[in-house]
Symmetry: C2
């Protein structure tokens, strides 16, 4: 395998393990290999969350909404990896209960930005969103 292919496989595994951590509600697995300075753009407000503590709170909010067992599936994923910077795009699906009591499945978009630090890929940025409904 070329170095870039190895990096793409490593990143694909990292994202799959992270998504699996979300399905298990395993916060340790969710936070693994995430930068202390992570910048999160999440589906619900706020506009942005900076740092691991704020990132953690976005998962508290998600788990208060999500069905149990948790649906958090990668439908399509594409990895673009250089030597030390990479990004991932994905189409995802989750499911939860709205404030109205309605059970919904939600297709959302995910972009992840990573940097290789001390030979380990680290998540610096996540952008989760759904199209605006207005």
């Amino acid at each position: 395998m070329s170095d870039n292919t190895k990096d793409e496989v490593a990143i694909r595994n990292l994202v799959e393990n992270w998504a699996s951590g979300v399905r298990r509600k395993d916060l340790g697995a969710i936070l693994l290999n995430h930068s202390p300075n992570i910048l999160m753009f999440d589906v619900p407000p706020p506009l942005e969350s900076k740092g691991l503590e704020a990132y953690k709170r976005t998962w508290d909010l998600f788990f208060s909404w999500a069905h149990d067992p948790v649906v958090f599936n990668i439908r399509e994923m594409s990895v673009t990896a250089g030597d030390d910077v990479a990004f991932v795009t994905a189409l995802m699906r989750c499911a939860g209960t709205e404030v109205s009591g309605e059970d919904i499945e939600l297709d959302f978009r995910l972009t992840i930005g990573l940097r290789k630090i001390d030979n380990q890929w680290i998540v610096m940025h996540e952008h989760h969103s759904i199209p605006a409904t207005q």
Copy 2:
């Protein structure tokens, strides 16, 4: 300047020229240095737009909504550049008229994924979104 700093400056200029192209409604400037295979996650539906033709249509939709003169401002931008892959995060502001007739200013999040091809940074991916309102 280190190579990475030069790349960061080049990418910052690219994004600023692109945003300026949006403000001038200059489709040539908007499409410049964008991949034929660009993957766009836009603020309004659809969930995704693949390829330059579909990307162009997202701008037709934007300009049908946007005020004139166009507001499309970079409030904050951060560039993470490696040798051949990079990503950009930004907080942006635009303004337009809703279907309801209401004039609004919209703060949105932007993530861009780039790859250096033949010594030129090329936009492979854009993700524009606002937080969900439900």
